[in-house]
Subunit: 216 residues, 2 copies
């Protein structure tokens, strides 16, 4: 996987549906069903085809965790849109964490500034330029979550190896249940209220200790 992919995966965690993990492999079908993480016989994730009907968590533009990342040419942007299955979203609103089997989808679309009568800012245009998934399955994945990339092809994709930076980054920085809820303004208040914010995130947002007054 490329650095760009790990950034995207880090930038917007991705999760899924409500399956009993033991039944996943035997339930795999060529066509993905709504709200259900589907794997083929080789354990590859089958890209869901109806994720645009799911619940929209949020979008960002040109997000990067690296200060020195290359800047794209002017007027070239990448939006990321994140979607959760309806049942998984309802469970998160109730519990402040994702049910086992959840699949979150991160979709990228190009952003353009000039187009039709628009003069400034950016709007999304064209086909998806990338798609990744973050899947919760505590029996299947070490740490409970697996990442999958390259799904815009529509073809099943193998799990991204655990050595990829996305795993460590989500463990170290994600606000709730290994997902970047700090970037989803409709879910951050839920996790706050349910008390499911991670210790790492709470430490990150802790105000700096006041500088002690110098001796008089």
């Amino acid at each position: 996987m490329t650095m760009k992919l790990s950034i995207l995966l880090g930038a917007a965690g991705v999760v899924g549906a409500v399956l009993l993990s033991g039944a996943v492999a035997t339930m795999a079908q060529p066509a993905a069903l709504s709200d259900t993480a589907q794997f083929d016989a080789q354990g590859r994730l089958i890209p869901p085809t109806d994720y645009r009907d799911w619940v929209f968590l949020s979008s960002g533009i040109d997000m990067s965790y690296s200060e020195g990342a290359a800047v794209a040419p002017a007027d070239t942007h990448t939006f990321d849109n994140v979607f959760a299955p309806r049942a998984a979203y309802a469970a998160f609103k109730r519990d402040g964490k994702w049910p086992n089997g959840t699949v979150l989808i991160l979709e990228n679309r190009g952003g353009v500034s000039k187009g039709s009568i628009n003069k400034r800012g950016a709007f999304q245009s064209g086909l998806p330029t990338g798609m990744e998934a973050h899947v919760k399955d505590e029996a299947r994945f070490k740490g409970g979550w697996g990442f999958f990339g390259g799904l815009a092809s529509g073809k099943p994709a193998p799990m991204i190896p655990y050595a990829a930076t996305c795993y460590a980054c989500h463990q170290q920085h994600a606000a709730a249940d290994t997902t970047f809820v700090q970037f989803y303004p409709i879910l951050l208040p839920v996790a706050t209220e349910r008390g499911t914010l991670s210790a790492a995130y709470l430490a990150e947002i802790k105000p700096e200790p006041a500088t002690p007054a110098p001796h008089p």
Copy 2:
């Protein structure tokens, strides 16, 4: 209404649910129901409370139709997220136009660049900073559509007067059915295929005629 509002309404048309228009007023309830344009006895639109569960059409950032618009301070951005009721979205995918009664919701959220581990670009943060609606009701509205602003308050809002620039702008520039489908990449191919692109939009995207070769 302010210029900013008309820009936002122009930037992302907004529409709603599947009601018989004659029945709208009598069906009005204090609490808005899913997928249903609800009006109070004074004809004010009751803001839907569950639009975040609807279908996400697209998002943009800092969009403006004015070349000379004031630029926001660095690191201050406004995202717009547009949502359609599930039944209206299904009808558009079938017909390339919106059913009578459709309500589209445009939600604004602030965007920040630095936050958590993000260093570049922008992500959405905080509560909605604005909410507007675009409602199709051929019996109720001249031209078939009405705009409503100031809905983030959660209180019913009167129709924006027809003299507002949003009405003329949508009539003159919207790609399909008076809505800015050119900014919704999941719907533009539908309108193209169904043959519902407006004459004005088709003229706008028509290639410039080739310059005739000079006489030899």
